[in-house]
Subunit: 149 residues, 2 copies
């Protein structure tokens, strides 16, 4: 397993985050990290955006958001930079994210939701492999996946 | 004078902000509002991003940031959507911003700084007209302008 760490986005590392790049064709499936951080401003009190690090290098991005109305955790906008894909970083990062959520940084919910376009095959397969299953909800092209921790 | 109001960006209006568009050729001079909001996440405790409104319509964007090290106010990333330029909204908005700063929302400084590329002629002329003058500092293509309130 690759050693991956999550570090909160702050003044020291946001430029690295601005420079992360999706692979060609992935823009249609995942918001870029700049747009995601803009949403993090709006949802400041209920989310944490993270840089995904392999050693000292930021190789990706993910945001954890708590929905206080539904009392569930959400994983938003997870991506691995196009130059660092294919190394298993996505899987390691997702496990780190789930570990973080089990620390209950916001509410006490054990439910984690995310959405994914099934045509984004690599990501969809990864989420299923980790244990996420379809909740039965969907929104346009996105299928909702959930896991209980 | 056009009646312009400033409203903080929040959950209710950020999508309008995401949809603001710079005019062709202005992208080289001004960050787009999404990128600016991403910075607002990082500088959350020292800035306020605003939508610029003409009646109920968001026609532009501007961020006020307080630099606690230098003890000065900064105006960042002011823009009027390309569909609403040429109506004097920029001038009215800037006056509203200065009025807001005189309320000392952060520190007590009376100094307001911004940077502008002199080749962005309409904006540069506007800032001079309002009373901003060159401080003598510059950064790459940007000249620093300041006013004492």
């Amino acid at each position: 397993m690759n050693h991956i760490t999550l570090k909160k986005i702050d003044e020291s590392n946001f430029i690295d985050c601005f420079n992360l790049k999706l692979a060609a064709g992935q823009e249609q499936y995942v918001s870029n990290p700049i747009r995601s951080l803009a949403q993090a401003y709006v949802y400041y009190n209920q989310c944490v955006p993270f840089g995904i690090y392999a050693a000292d290098k930021m190789v990706g991005y993910v945001m954890v958001l708590y929905d206080y109305d539904e009392e569930v955790y959400n994983i938003w906008h997870m991506m691995i930079d196009c130059a660092f894909q294919g190394n298993g970083y996505g899987k390691s990062a997702l496990l780190e994210v789930l570990k973080y959520i089990t620390s209950k940084p916001f509410g006490n919910s054990k439910t984690v939701l995310m959405t994914c376009n099934p045509q984004n095959e690599v990501a969809y397969k990864l989420y299923r492999q980790i244990g996420f299953t379809e909740t039965g909800n969907s929104d346009e092209d996105e299928v909702e996946l959930g896991i209980t921790l």
